[in-house]
Chain length 228, copies 2
């Protein structure tokens, strides 16, 4: 007997690379802005603090990161950053939004195999246009009976997605790289969750917890874990 009816999959850093682009963007920000910042200021920490301050208003995703980067560049340089650098920050956002999707290894084969046995839904959060572009250009959209782009991955949001599709949480298993967004909220509503870590994790996704859940070394181990 199959242990679940429906498998939910996170997208960023679960199906394709994402955080490495943000990390490269942060490094680029430090490189571009540092020359205009007084000695003794931690440029990277200040950028993260501005992102944290703006998270509730700007939300997740690349455009939110871009607006926070512009704000942080001006404030931490006390206005000394030249407009040419601000222009480069906006260009960086545009480049990220149009960068081709880079799938993680063996993702298409894994989805094909589990898709033969389970209903698959993709549940992600972030910027509506960016996430939609990535899903559409990934070549993976046909594996999923539904794609949901959420504002926040909390228990209430997961419950609504499952209710909407008539899925009992006890028959649902979520697979993702973020304990905070993919694992704990699904367990909180009575579902199962499998953690597949990505080498990088955004600081604002860090969470302390003492829950127990399955952890796989890579998504290639998922079919075997599901007994396939």
């Amino acid at each position: 007997m199959k242990p679940f009816d429906v498998i939910g999959l996170d997208a960023d850093d679960t199906l394709w690379h994402s955080e490495d682009s943000f990390h490269a963007g942060e490094m680029k920000f430090v490189e571009l802005v540092s020359p205009y910042v007084s000695e003794g200021i931690d440029v990277k920490a200040a950028l993260t603090a501005v992102e944290r301050k703006n998270l509730h208003t700007f939300g997740y995703g690349v455009k939110a990161f871009g607006l926070s980067a512009v704000e942080a560049a001006i404030t931490i340089s006390e206005g000394r950053v030249p407009t040419s650098v601000i222009g480069q920050l906006v260009e960086m956002i545009r480049a990220t939004l149009t960068e081709p999707v880079r799938l993680l290894p063996h993702v298409p084969e894994v989805l094909a195999e589990i898709g033969r046995h389970y209903r698959l839904v993709l549940i992600t959060k972030g910027d509506l246009i960016h996430q939609t572009f990535k899903v559409e250009t990934s070549g993976l959209a046909h594996h999923f009976e539904h794609v949901e782009i959420l504002l926040e991955k909390d228990p209430r949001a997961y419950q609504r997605v499952l209710d909407d599709r008539g899925i009992d949480p006890t028959t649902f298993c979520m697979v993702g790289n973020s304990v905070r967004s993919d694992i704990l909220p699904v367990m909180a509503i009575g579902g199962t969750a499998v953690h597949v870590p990505y080498p990088l994790l955004w600081e604002l996704e860090h969470v302390d917890h003492d829950e127990h859940f399955a952890e796989l070394g890579s998504i290639t181990e998922l079919p075997a874990w599901l007994g396939l």
Copy 2:
């Protein structure tokens, strides 16, 4: 007999004011940036051109407007705009994202009345966090059996929303202020649409057409139009 089973309602400029904020933002942009721009440049037209260029990459909504405004300020001033002005543009975006919802007249009573006779769905597009905040803080969310925030309001997107909820387009009527986004795509999939114009329309929403459809002077006329 009721002519429809389900009424879809647009949100921005149909249930609450929106375009007037964007219009005020554009005027503020012109005021802030014009002092640094060479004579003979149409500042407002240049801003709209940058928005149009970026629409496919940045999408709709306030954050997209903000990034386009920063880019336009730098390019049309040839970099002469001071960072203090760029900072003010980012603050303007933050202010718009947190501004309280301003309902259009009699919207709560109209929704209460038509909600007694019809299933209601809210179908909007734009920024995920901004639209969600507006729906949640409007006090109107309980009237709707479903809220859908789309990337683009085209026939394919409407068809998917209706399919998802088992709604036959011939039993569906959409109410909104944009002929391009609320009327023509719904008629294209066999639904009915009612136009309720708002005094302002964003230039990128303008469309030429020769379709015929009902037009109401305000949403207060909707119950009578539905025979209630």
